[in-house]
Amino acid sequence: MQRSQTSKTPKQPLQVHKHQTDLSAWQKGGRIDPEKSVQNHQSPNDQKNGSKPDSLEQALSFFEKLQDSVSLKKDHALQKHLTTVESIALQRGLPPEGFAILLNVALSGKFADTLNTHLLKSLVPASVIPENSVVSSVSWLCVGKCSGNVQLLFLKWLITMFDFIDHKEQIYALYGFFFSFLQDEKMCPYVCHLLYLLTRKENVKPFRIRRLLDLQAKMGMQSHLQALLSLYKIFCPELVTITLPGKVKTYFKNSEGPWKAAINAVRQRNKQNSPVPRLLFLGTVQLRSRKRKWNTQLIIPANSTNKNDLEEDREKNHVDLYRMNESFPVEQLQTFPQLLQNIHRLEFPSQMGSVLTNPLLLHYMNCIKDESVFLRLYYWMSQVLQEECTWCVADNYQHEEEFKDFLETVYKTECFLQEGFSSCEEFLYRSLPLWDGFSCRSQFLRLVSWIPLNSFSEMKSHLYDPLAQLFFTSSLYFKCSVLESLKELLCNWLNWHVIHLNSESGFQVHSLNTTLSGLVNTVAELVHFVGWISTVALRLENNTTFLLYFILDFYETVCDMYLGYNLPLLIMPPAGIFYPALLSMDSVSLNQLCYIMYRYRTNLVAAKENELSKQKILQFKFSRQTYQEYNQYVIAMVGCLWTSSVFQKDVHPRGLRMDDELLKKTAVQEFKTSFNIVYHPALMGYAVHFLQQAWPDDTTFNFSLIKGKKWNWYLEYLYAQGLKGLKVFIESSINRVSQASHSKAGSVKA
C-alpha cells in the first residue's frame, strides 16, 4: 500500500505485485526507523520532470515487445529507448516493474552482449526490486543462453542489489540452483558471495560441506570458499570440523561493479525526497565500511527470514495451527506477547550478532537452552573479537569508541543471560597481558566479572598474573575498580553455584563439568588472590580508607558464603587486612569489620551445629584452622573494643601483643584501661560528642567518666549514630554477665 508512494512513476501500468505489505510492515518495525517522522510527501522534482516517466514507460513497453535479434547500431528506436532507460536509471533509479522486462531482455540471449551489458548496468532500483523478476532471471541463467560475461555481470548485480529485493522467500528456495553454479570456475567466487548472503541454517547440509571441501581441495584455499565454509561453521559447528584461519582480511573482492556511483546518486536523491526508500538503504550491508562489522551485525537484516505477513497475524490474533511449521520472521518480533504467541516457530537470524541487541530474542535464547545457538553466538563473537582484538588503535579514535560500545553490548547481554561467554573469556586472556590499563578500562573490567568458572591453573597465568601487574602499578581508583569487578566475579560464581545446586538435574552447562570440590578450590583461589593483592595494596596506598572500603566490601560476600550461597567454604581475611581495618582511623571501616566478623561468627556457628547434629553427611567441614583464626581475631577485637587488653591478650603472630615494659615507655598512664570503645581512634570523636552532651559543663574531656550506666548509654549513643555493625558484633560476641561494666569476652570454641 505504501508502494505507490515510493515508486517514481505516478501510474503503475505494467505490473502490480502482490506482496506489497512488507515495506509497511518493516516500517512499523520501529527498530530502524528514525526517519518515520518524515512526511511521505511527493517531491516537487517529480512533478517538474513529469515528462520523463512517460518516456520511460514508452521505453519499457518497447523493450517488452522487443522480439527479434536487432542490432544496436542500426536500430535508432532501440538506441533512443536505451538511452532513456540508462539516463533515468542512473539519475533516479528504475521503478520496480521495470526490472522483469529489462532482465528478461538482457538474459534471454537473443540480443548482442553490448545491449545486454548496457541494460544490466542500468538496473539501478529507485525503491525495490521485485522478487519474481529475479526468479525469472535465474531461470534464464539456468537455461544458459546468455554468454559468460553477462552471467557474471548478472551475479555481481544480484550481490550488489541483494538488499533491495523486496522478498527473498522464493530466492531462498533457489539455493540449490545457485549452489550448482559453484562448479563453474569463473562464477565460483560470485556464487560463493551470493550463497554467503543467502545461507540459512537449514541450507547447511553435509553433502554441501563435502562439495565445498572437494572444491577447496581442487582449487586450493580460496578466500571465497573459506568465507562460505566459515559461515557454515557458524551455523553448524558440529558439522564443519576443519579449522579455518581466523584472520581473513577480505573474503570477497569488491563486487559492487558499475552500480556504486548510481546507487549513491539515487540514495542522495532519495534522502532529500522520499522517506521510505531510505529505510531500505539503512539495511544494505554492502554500503557500510567493513571496519564497523561488529555494530552493523547487531542489526537484524531486513529480510532475514521468509514470511512477511505480520498484518494478517495481528488481525487473526491467534495461533494458526496449520502454519505450525512456518517460521516467524524475527525482524517483525516487537513485543513480548508476540514472542509468547510465536515462540514455537521462531528462527534465529542468520546474523547471530543481532541477537545481542534484541531483548526478546535473548529471552527466547534463555528459554530454549539450545546448545547450538550458544555455539553459533560464541563462534561469531570470537571471530569478531579476534579480528578486532586491537582495542586501541593509534590513528583511529572512532574505532575505539565503537569497540567500546560493542564490548558494552556484550557485557549487557552477559548480564541479561546471567552467563559468561567463553569467547569473551578468550578475548580477555589474550588481551589482558598486553593491556595498558587505560583504554576501554571499564568495559574490560566489567567483562572480567563474567569470566566463567574455570580450573585455576588457567586463571592464574591468564587472568591473575597480568591483572596483578596492572593492579600494583596503577592508581588507587584502578585498584578499587579491580576489586569491585572481582567482587562481581565472585558473586556471579556463587550465584551460578546456587542456581545449579537447586536444579541439579537441570541442563548441563557447557564446558563446565565442575565438581563441588573443583568449585570450592577455584573460589578459594580467587579469595586468596584478592586477599594477597589487597594486603599489598593497603601497604602501597598507606591504608587509605577508600581502598579499605572496597576490600571489606569484597569480604562482606566472602564471610557469608556458607549460609548465603551454600558453599562449604569460609576464608578469613589475612592479617594485613584485618589489622588495618581494626585500627582504622575511620569508623566506617571499623563498623564494616564488625559486621563482617559477626557474619563469620554466624556462619561458623551454623557450620558447627550442622557438623554436630550430623543431619547430613558433610562432604566438607571447615578446618580447625579457620576456627582458630577466627578466635584469634575475635580476641583481638574484643581486646581493642571492650576490655582494653589487646596488648596483653592478642595471640595472633602478627598481632598487637606488646610487653608491659614497652607499653610503659609510651608514657600512657593506665594503659591497661585505655584502649577500648571509648579510646579507639575511630570512635574517639563519638566519645567527645557524647561527653559534651552528657556533661555540658565539663571541658576536661575526662573519658574515664564513661563507665557503668554511662557506658551503656554511650553504647546506645554509638548505635544511634548508625554503627549497626558494631551493634551486632557486640551483641553477638561479647557475653555481658550483668548490665554493669563488668564484661567478658566470648568466642566460638573449636
Binding site: C392, D395, D436, F438, Q469, T473
Partner: protein, 177 residues
C-alpha cells in the same frame, strides 16, 4: 666504558631519578614531558639516552639512578636490538627491581615487527616487568606516566615498607618461580 650502578652515589632526599633508554627520541621526549606534568610529592629528574653506556665524562653530574626504563618500539626490530645491546652496561644489582621494559606501539599491532614473545623472554631473563602501552595516544601516555611514577617512587624508597626488590618480586609472574 662505565656501567650504570644503582648504589654508587648517595641518594638525594625527597627526589628520584629515572633513566629512559630508547631509540625513538620523539616518543621519549613526550613520555618525559608527561612524567613531568604529573602531580607528585617529590622532585624528579629524568635522563634520556638513546643507548647505553652513558658518557663517563658527565658522570659526576648525574644523580643516582633509581629506575631504568628500556623502551622497545613494537614496530622496529632495531629498538629491541638496541635495548639488548644496552643491557650489557647495566650493573647486575639493578635487576633487583629497578629496571622495567616499556613496550610501545601496541596501538599498531598490524605493523608489528617485534615478536611479543621475544619481549616476554627478555623480561623473564632479566627478572624485570614488561609494561605495554601506546604512547601516541595522550590518555594512555598519561596513564603510563602515572604507572612509571609509582614504580619510581617505590624504587627510590619513598614508600615505607616496600622496597624495589620486594616490589620486583610482586611484579614477577607467579609461574616463573
Amino acid at each position: 666504558m662505565s656501567v650504570v650502578q644503582p648504589f654508587d652515589k648517595l641518594p638525594i632526599p625527597n627526589s628520584a631519578a629515572c633513566l629512559l633508554v630508547g631509540s625513538d627520541e620523539g616518543l621519549q621526549q613526550r613520555l618525559a614531558e608527561a612524567l613531568l606534568l604529573e602531580k607528585k610529592s617529590f622532585k624528579i629528574s629524568i635522563h634520556l639516552a638513546t643507548s647505553l653506556p652513558l658518557p663517563s665524562e658527565r658522570d659526576h653530574l648525574r644523580p643516582r639512578i633509581d629506575l631504568i626504563v628500556f623502551m622497545i618500539d613494537i614496530k622496529s626490530k632495531y629498538s629491541l636490538e638496541n635495548v639488548e645491546a644496552s643491557l650489557a652496561y647495566v650493573d647486575a644489582s639493578f635487576f633487583l627491581g629497578k629496571v622495567c621494559f616499556l613496550v610501545t606501539g601496541v596501538g599498531r599491532v598490524n605493523s608489528c615487527s617485534v615478536e611479543i614473545s621475544a619481549v616476554w623472554k627478555l623480561g623473564e631473563a632479566y627478572c624485570s616487568p614488561v609494561l605495554f602501552c601506546e604512547l601516541e595516544l595522550e590518555g594512555i601516555r598519561v596513564a603510563t606516566a602515572q604507572r612509571l611514577l609509582r614504580m619510581l617512587q617505590i624504587c627510590a624508597g619513598h614508600i615505607t615498607g616496600v622496597s624495589a626488590l620486594s616490589f620486583g618480586l610482586l611484579m614477577r609472574n607467579s609461574d616463573d618461580n
